[in-house]
Symmetry: C2
Subunit: 217 residues, 2 copies
């Protein structure tokens, strides 16, 4: 009987979880925690990072991995802060996967940083499904998106270790009810800490900075 | 030789395109065009629909298919307008596929409607990749998301037949440069019509209504 060529299709999510576990172990051995920032396009993730990175230094030195479908714009915005930053281009895919993150981490100067922040692709759905080896997922929701998003995109809000509600300086101009939003967050993730902030005027930033600085492996 | 059981895995995107082609032919035979509205979570898709459906009647009677990951909130918002509306739940998936849309269409009272509007899952990435048999994809972008989104999520802005820039009533309160945004849209899709609107105060709505009323099979 002639030898057969058998193609093997590995469970993709299983392979992802293996890379994520490897990353988590690697970062623990280096004493560098990693957080995974997830939110809609335009919810203010990059601006939140810009403000947070400056406010946290010199005590917490941050490196950033920027996930995007196309362009290196966000990495360029952060590179001017003189921090280690790499752009992870998914070339069309709507989320980051653990293997790409792992290889990018190997190229970061981890001896000189206290924390890695990953900014995922702007998307409330798929990034929540993929473990990339982070110590905490963080959901970012801008008030201009409406109070109902935690109910409509429940996986992220259930999986995350903190929620940052951004752009509260715009509250006077929009029909957004903060109490309803907080109740909706609580409905899917009872005890998750929620930080309501304006990265523009600094309101609420200190509590958020204290929290993220406390994330550990 | 005993009969073998062979599992067949069909190319998923190929199967999707077959359903989309079937849908396009079916709707053409019924003289009912269909548009596919795509944008970020919270960019104002449902509110735009509410205002447009009321403004377009009685000349254009609209039926709606509401795509969501979870909850029937958006379909409930539109049902009060006394129109045919169905909720398509993806149960976690980040986009609508053609087969689900096709079967939902078969249950709509197409004899009593002039157009079907599909509101896709809130997501700038994956919905742009899946043909659902529509006659036009329409990209919705709110000014609070920033001018750079057409460059960062180019597929949707390249594939669409029109762009609706929403929430322009908020322009006085945010650092958004409309000319830069329009240049970015033009960079990926030179001649696409762009409608800058506020569904809150009605600014720019008439040009958008005239355009969507003109979409044909």
């Amino acid at each position: 009987m002639a030898a057969m060529q058998i193609k093997i299709y590995q469970d993709l999510m299983g392979a992802n979880d293996e890379w994520a576990a490897k990353t988590r172990e690697f970062l623990k051995s280096r004493h560098v925690p990693m957080v995974n920032i997830i939110g809609s396009p335009g919810c203010g993730k990059t601006f939140l990072l810009e403000k947070s990175i400056v406010a946290l230094r010199p005590g917490r030195r941050i490196a950033v991995l920027e996930g995007d479908v196309a362009t290196t714009r966000d990495a360029e915005r952060l590179a001017v802060l003189d921090i280690p930053v790499s752009q992870l281009l998914t070339n069309g895919a709507c989320h980051l996967e653990a293997k790409l993150v792992h290889h990018a981490l190997l190229d970061l100067p981890l001896d000189t940083v206290d924390m890695v922040i990953v900014e995922n692709v702007g998307n409330l759905v798929c990034p929540a499904e993929f473990d990339i080896g982070e110590n905490a997922k963080i959901a970012v929701l801008s008030v201009t998106e409406g109070e109902d998003k935690p109910l409509k995109y429940p996986l992220l809000f259930r999986e995350c270790k903190a929620v940052v509600v951004t752009k509260i300086d715009l509250l006077p101009y929009i029909p957004f009810d903060l109490d309803t939003c907080l109740a909706n967050i609580q409905a899917v993730n009872g005890h998750v800490p929620v930080f309501t902030i304006s990265a523009v005027n600094g309101q609420g930033m200190q509590a958020w900075l204290d929290w993220i600085a406390s994330v550990k492996n």
